[in-house]
Symmetry: C2
Subunit: 159 residues, 2 copies
Amino acid sequence: MKHTLSILVENKPGVLTRVAGLFARRGFNIESLAVGLSEDPKLSRITIVIDGDEHPVDQVTKQLHKLINVLKIRDLDAGNSVSAELLIVRVAGEGDKRTEALQIAEIFKAKIVDVDRRALTLRVVGTNDKLEALLELLQPLGILEVVRTGTIAMGRGRG
Amino acid sequence: MKHTLSILVENKPGVLTRVAGLFARRGFNIESLAVGLSEDPKLSRITIVIDGDEHPVDQVTKQLHKLINVLKIRDLDAGNSVSAELLIVRVAGEGDKRTEALQIAEIFKAKIVDVDRRALTLRVVGTNDKLEALLELLQPLGILEVVRTGTIAMGRGRG
């Protein structure tokens, strides 16, 4: 099962390295990781998605709690949180391919952020599943480049 | 000046730690970092935003090239790339505050992803500047929680 960990840390050099290193040492394959400022400019929030089937996640959260500069950890349950990921994808777009790419973009409410004679660049936001579905549809047209943020998530208010 | 580095790496445990560690050892304050799968499932793309005023960025890119599992590095120029960041923010939303939060959400084309009696949760995508402007407008209402992906970027096709 996938686990989404939301980790509040002090915004200092080296903190991210220690957090990522802890997962690496335990052989966790980090599926995605995103880090940005939180509501407090002195603190950052790291969102990590890992596959918890191979290793017990509660062991790693215990270790995380022991790290200096780590303030708070939440294991976010998909049923009680909102999550999303951002994707920018460049896809081949000559002739008929452009028409098809534009149709797919519309279905997924993607924004066209760049275009030239040979390719279109789309920006789209959604759940991991939605983005995977989009990439699967674009694949036959020819995907030239993909950049993704990794998933971020927030517990619902009623939590 | 801010630099946005796009780093293509092999999708293996420990690679992210080595990359982040290189910046930490040199005292770079990483403003944001996002890592997700690329167009090739064996490769990930790391986007790092750093402040290049304090340290020369070309020194760190030279060091990055020497790291095992690092395949390609691009220093993306804002004028010749598209960039975006994703933000989820929970803001107080009782009474008049809700009306005001909804108006701000509409201006920024934010999506309401959660709501309860006391708060609204917005999901919005845009440049770093746009997200900062949104947070500044929401600040007087009471920001309860913020999670951000960090910026991702892609060079334009004509590059």
